[in-house]
């Protein structure tokens, strides 16, 4: 791989052990994907991994980074899952003082490394200057954010892991995958013939298309322009059943004003017609017949400020049934704004908890103990409008029954205590 003199200096340890290791990792990653060069990154959304050590070292990578005074050289954000703005929420989600101290310590470390803790899985809906623009090269964790960055915004991003943190430390990234024009070319055509009525429908369509595509780039035609929440549902599901980084939605994706543009003048390898039957098959697999509901979770991925407002309107003057737990999830920034706008008050009066925690990755789910500690634990009957959350709920919640449906169905079930098919 072609490296600049500065890349070589980083690799050879002139900037310290951590930067050398980061550069080595990025170079090795590039070799695995036959990258020819490194490129500059504009932004990174990272995971500050606590327990990783450079092979053979006693101290953690982060401890060494602090010692060597490593600072991110590009704008970088992170999500420390488990952090809540409202002290009372920690009790509700069974996060004890010890766990809180660990969360706070990770936040402090991240800040010292020059990372802003935006605490969200949806960094793309931050309404500040950190989100780069069309054509930018970024590195990001969060499979759902990767597919959203590429598909909704035309921002170039691979499915990253620790490479996002190393990209933030070095400002560099191997030029492979979604960063290259030729890999952004559409492969298969999906004609939407199904009626997409709500977020769950978009999410089911994404799940179905992701399963067919695997690593390939789909081009989606005839899709009604999705709302932010619908787009989040679609993109996140693509990266659950599959490993899709980019879906060209004709008329929505910046690089796909036309089908022809999405295929870069080429032809689809295969054409699929997505019908109501395809969506029904997803619903049939994951939906149960009408029954009582115990836990409802919305906002996977984290919802926008507009959706918090929408939910506050849907729940205004209503009351969640006493034995039902309802969570809405969003970013620190959105929740802060929603408080100011009065949306949080309305939701809390209705009996809803609004939080930033990811219920998949966090032990603080309602109930006595996390599943991995207590094998008999079950959340009870669980409902959501997100295929991503539904699919992954099995490990974390051990739901007895799952319900998958529209936002309105979820809200109705919250109030009545019963899921109606």
């Amino acid at each position: 791989m072609k490296l600049t003199d500065d890349d070589k200096r980083k690799l050879e340890g002139e900037y310290g052990t951590v930067i050398a290791h980061a550069m080595r990792f990025l170079a090795d990653l590039g070799e695995a994907f036959d990258a020819e060069e490194m490129i500059d990154l504009d932004f990174a959304h990272v995971y500050t991994i606590e327990d990783y050590r450079i092979p053979g070292h006693d101290k953690t990578l982060l401890a060494e980074a602090l010692e060597e005074n490593v600072k991110c050289v590009i704008p970088a954000t992170a999500w420390i899952s488990g952090f809540e703005m409202d002290e009372n929420i920690y009790r509700k989600i069974s996060i004890d003082d010890e766990k809180r101290e660990k969360i706070q310590a990770r936040i402090e470390v991240s800040r010292r490394l020059g990372i802003t803790c935006i605490n969200t899985c949806a960094p793309y809906i931050m309404c500040d200057q950190s989100t780069p623009s069309f054509g930018a090269h970024i590195a990001s964790i969060e499979s759902s954010a990767v597919s959203y960055f590429n598909s909704a915004l035309g921002i170039r991003c691979n499915r990253d892991g620790i490479s996002a943190l190393f990209g933030a430390f070095t400002g560099r990234y191997p030029n492979f995958g979604m960063h290259l024009d030729e890999n952004r070319k559409g492969r298969h055509l999906f004609k939407i013939e199904a009626e997409l009525k709500n977020t769950a429908d978009y999410s089911a369509a994404g799940y179905h298309i992701g399963e067919i595509c695997g690593l390939d780039v789909p081009v989606v035609a005839n899709m009604p322009r999705p709302s932010t929440e619908e787009m989040q549902g679609f993109c996140s599901a693509l990266a659950v059943s599959g490993a899709v980084s980019l879906a060209h939605i004709v008329g929505v994706t910046p690089e796909a004003p036309t089908e022809q543009a999405a295929f870069q003048g080429g032809k689809p390898e295969r054409t699929y017609h997505i019908t109501n039957n395809d969506l029904d098959s997803v619903y049939e697999k994951y939906n149960s017949p009408s029954d009582k509901v115990d836990f409802i979770c919305l906002g996977c991925p984290h919802m926008s400020i507009h959706d918090i407002r929408k939910y506050s309107e849907l729940l205004k003057g209503k009351k969640v049934r006493s034995n039902v737990t309802v969570w809405l999830m969003s970013s620190v920034q959105n929740i802060y704004l929603a408080k100011q706008e009065g949306y949080i008050d309305i939701l809390e009066q209705a009996g809803v908890t609004v939080l930033t925690t990811c219920p998949i990755n966090n032990p603080g789910i309602p109930g006595p103990n996390h599943t991995s500690i207590n094998k008999d634990y079950s959340i009870g009957n669980f409902a959501t409008n997100s295929m991503k959350l539904l699919y992954y709920s099995r490990n974390s919640f051990r739901p007895k029954k799952t319900f998958f449906g529209s936002t309105e169905q979820c809200i109705q079930a919250a109030v009545s205590g019963t899921w109606e098919c």
């Binding site: 892991g161 620790i162 490993a243 699919y391 490990n395």
Partner: protein, 138 residues
């Protein structure tokens, strides 16, 4: 004499390893399919349900799902459940990074579809870019 097959691939992570194959014909997501604490596939009805990952050579088309899978793969070594090696049909960046964090021999880009050649329980020896498969069933 058990049948022996030798294949060449691209070594993403060079090294030597051997172990019994654990083959998933569908792309793998550790989140949702695998209990990291026990190192066991626990998705009901999956072809690998109740199979342990520890010391096996995992063979699958490619990774899918959450970006956290790369860290979950590292976590497998912390719970003493790490596989011995990985064979992919196609490299997917998150699972490639997981393999890099585990630092276990990992190959991809074989001349044939690896999931169709290896059966669960075949004995596999990896030597850099060469894979030797000893078939346990004919």
């Amino acid at each position: 004499m058990p049948k022996k097959i030798i294949l060449k691939g691209k070594a993403i992570i060079k090294g030597k390893a051997s172990g019994y194959a654990l083959v998933s014909h569908e792309p793998v997501s550790f989140l949702g399919m695998v209990n990291i604490e026990t190192g066991t596939f626990d998705y009901p009805g999956h072809e690998l349900e109740n199979e342990h990952i520890k010391d096996r050579i995992i063979v699958y088309p490619h990774g899918r799902g959450s970006s956290g899978d790369s860290f979950r793969m590292l976590h497998l070594s912390m719970t003493n459940n790490a596989p011995a090696g990985i064979l992919f049909d196609e490299p997917e960046p998150i699972h490639v990074q997981g393999a890099m964090l585990l630092n276990i021999p990992t190959l991809t880009h074989f001349s044939k579809n690896i999931c169709d050649i290896v059966n669960n329980g075949d004995f596999i020896t990896i030597d850099n870019d060469t894979v030797e498969i000893i078939k346990t069933q004919s």
